[in-house]
């Protein structure tokens, strides 16, 4: 395959170039028997007993390669994490690409290598894929869509319906790392310590659930950050979530990026963090299990669940000064502002 070349429309035609791409790039990178069979659908053998979980996601990110990850790594982690927070053990993914004509092959190789690395770290296999190419100008370099399949072991039942007043709200680490890193890249800010937190979380979730702490619900605070995820949970569970500003960990460089661009870390995406709603008396045990895991260093209790207030704000932040303000859903994502 021509190194230093570019994607042509013919790479999406299903002909010689497509087969070359599959044979020389995707198969070696994702290496597994189900994929190697190259049939129209992957047959999965040996799934454990339990309820099947299925999720889907689409990924667009600018820039496609950033400190701490890339579009491919992000796609696999994001999919695996959706399964993990549902309580499922992730098993297999699909990986479909829409590429823009003219995309440098080197960038595609980086994306595929990233996806393969994430799959190895997460212990999942990419068993099916597809590639389409759109004319130059009709797509922003590359888009990825995935589907992820996992199995929920018997006896495990997570969900917002279990969230109740009194629950503790935990986060597995500092917030806003991914969003701040990506926004920094787009707006000319640099820093050695700026890195996306992108990571596969199934093993962290496993450690938490294996600790015996009564976990009611789990979510990964991706786009829209912690505040948006809490709004979603509060809405579905019919409760009010109180967050304690002083307790929410934010790394200094993330805070600096947010200050410079006028963003709020609470609304900035994480891609390697878990929010957990836990029975209050088990909060310490849960925190211990998170903190003992490499991806859970910096875990903290950041708030609690209270009874819902009719017409009241579903998520409220208690500031460092003892005052309260609502954390509502944003009309739209944070933009650099001067005021």
């Amino acid at each position: 395959m021509s190194r230093g070349g570019r994607i042509l429309l013919a790479h999406g035609d299903g002909g010689r170039l497509t087969h070359e791409l599959v044979r020389e790039l995707f198969l070696p990178a994702f290496a597994n028997p189900a994929l190697a069979a190259l049939s129209d659908a992957a047959i999965l053998d040996g799934l454990p007993d339990g309820r099947v979980a299925l999720t889907t996601d689409a990924f667009v990110v600018d820039p496609p390669v950033f400190p701490g990850g890339d579009l491919g790594y992000l796609s696999v982690c994001g999919t695996v994490n959706d399964l993990a927070v549902a309580g499922a053990v992730p098993r297999a993914l699909t990986f479909a690409l829409v590429l823009e004509e003219g995309l440098e092959l080197g960038l595609l190789e980086a994306v595929v290598a990233g996806a393969a690395r994430a799959a190895r770290e997460a212990g999942v296999v990419i068993v099916a894929g597809d590639t389409k190419v759109v004319p130059r100008g009709k797509g922003d370099r590359a888009y990825v869509t995935t589907a992820g399949l996992g199995v929920v072991p018997a006896g495990r039942d997570l969900g917002d319906q279990h969230v109740a007043p009194g629950d503790a709200v935990l986060v597995s680490g500092a917030v806003g790392d991914h969003g701040a890193t990506v926004m920094a890249c787009r707006h000319g800010l640099a820093g050695e310590a700026l890195r996306s937190d992108c990571a596969p979380l199934a093993s962290l979730v496993g450690a938490l659930l294996g600790s015996g702490a009564r976990v009611h619900a789990l979510h990964d605070p991706t786009r829209g950050g912690v505040a948006t995820t809490c709004n979603e949970v509060a809405g579905r569970a019919g409760v009010r979530i109180m967050l304690d500003e002083a307790a929410i960990p934010v790394r200094p460089e993330v805070r600096a990026v947010c200050e410079l661009l006028g963003l709020d870390p609470l609304y900035t995406a994480c891609e390697g963090r878990v929010l957990a709603w836990v029975e209050r008396s088990d909060a310490e045990r849960a925190l211990g299990a998170l903190a003992a895991h490499p991806l859970g260093a910096g875990a903290a209790c950041i708030g609690r669940v209270e009874a819902g207030v009719p017409h009241g704000a579903p998520v409220v932040l208690r500031t460092a000064y003892g005052t309260e303000r609502p954390l509502d859903l944003l009309a739209a994502s944070g933009l650099p502002r001067i005021c």
Binding site: H187, G188, L261, G262, V309, P310, H311, G312, A313, V316, T319, A320, Y321, G322, T323, E324, R325, P326, D328, A331, A332, L335, P336, R337, I338, C339
Partner: protein
């Protein structure tokens, strides 16, 4: 601990609050203090400071939010310019969702018009350098803090010969509306918190007229909760003693004479002009227009078709911005005008008076 983080420490804030309470005990009546900077409004809301003040100290937000005071016809013109062939409109994020007569820049972008959000006027200049076949129009809004940065970008464009970088000036000056508000006895403002970063450029002396001509106390303050409370304490103290002065409490960056280099650069490219403040109407010499010799860089000179602007009926933004009424007293508040469907300036910006009021009522679950 850096100076800035020490200044935000809760213990310091609590200490200053006690001081404010003590000083407020000497006040003969309830006083109304006004801040005139969107960044102050944001900082105060973020820390929930308003609710910590004693009952006889009322702190309100004036016309300091550039989004709130930008008139509809400016945004209409920006949209129309973006629809011109081979034109890119570059803007700060603040303006993207401001309602125009037909929609907003954001909606126009969805229709295929070229609008780019930038962090700096220099980023807009770079767009012009990289794309010499297209005209880049930078939406130059903001007060004295921002106009020097636009002037510097213009200087660079002139020096390097970048002809396709144009500016649509919506710049405004801060002292003129303060004169209007200080003279408005119906509004009854007793003192002002002055915008610290505007003062970095203008110098604190630029505001001494408030005490000299209007006998009102004012404090130039920074943006941490501590800075704001220091200002409130100073104003309450001066009101209690009946000794109005203009004091500089942001001396770590504000000098009496400000930044002369910045002001000179603005003078080189801009001249004072009358302009319209959304909600307040026209104020003479309160805006900046590009000098006639810079006509080729003035996007306002380009031919565009503009819709007939309409002022929403019943909207009382002007009275809210002047501090004459509280948001709920506007007939549109909470019904026709909400953060999700904003009609007037004060609800458009998330830190406008009405938006802030609406949001805080949701804490208690009071239906507006």
């Amino acid at each position: 601990m850096s100076a800035e983080s020490a200044l935000a420490a809760p213990a310091t804030v609590r200490g200053l609050l006690r001081r404010v309470e003590r000083l407020a005990g000497r006040l003969p009546r309830r006083v109304t203090l006004m801040e005139v900077c969107g960044t102050h409004t944001h900082a105060i809301a973020a820390a929930g400071l308003r609710r910590l003040l004693p009952a006889n100290v009322r702190l309100i937000a004036g016309p300091g939010c550039p989004v709130c005071v930008t008139p509809v016809d400016y945004v209409d013109r920006a949209e129309a310019l973006a629809r011109r062939p081979a034109t890119v409109v570059a803007t700060f994020g603040d303006l993207l969702r401001v309602p125009s007569t037909s929609g907003s820049l954001e909606r126009a972008r969805a229709e295929g018009v070229c609008v780019r959000v930038v962090y700096s006027p220099r980023d807009a200049l770079r767009l012009a350098r990289d794309d010499p076949d297209r005209t880049v129009v930078f939406l130059a809004v903001g007060f004295e803090t921002t106009s020097p940065t636009v002037a510097a970008a213009l200087a660079e464009a002139e020096a390097d010969g970048v002809p396709n970088f144009l500016v649509l000036s919506g710049h405004k000056a801060m002292p003129p509306p303060l004169r209007l508000l200080a003279g408005d006895r119906e509004a009854g403002i007793d003192g002002f918190l002055l915008p610290g970063h505007v003062a970095v450029v203008t110098g604190s002396d630029a505001f001494s007229f408030l005490a000299e001509e209007f006998h009102l106390p004012a404090a130039v303050v920074g943006f941490t909760p501590t800075d704001v409370l220091r200002g409130v304490a100073a104003l309450v103290d001066m009101l209690g003693r009946g000794e109005p002065e203009v004091v500089n409490l942001y001396s770590r960056v504000v000098r009496p004479d400000g930044n002369a280099v910045a002001r000179a650069l603005v003078q080189r490219f801009f001249a004072a002009a009358a302009c319209t403040w959304r909600g307040l109407g026209a104020i003479s010499a309160s805006g900046l227009a590009l000098r006639p010799e810079l006509a080729r860089r003035d996007a306002a000179a380009l031919e565009v078709e503009l819709p007939t602007p309409c002022e929403p009926e019943g909207c009382r933004c002007g009275d809210v911005l002047r501090g004459r009424i509280d948001p709920p007293e506007c007939p549109l508040f909470g019904s026709a005008c909400t953060p999700a469907a904003a009609v007037g300036a004060c609800m458009v910006s998330s830190e406008g008076s009405c938006a802030a009021f609406y949001r805080h009522e949701r804490l208690a679950g009071v239906r507006p």
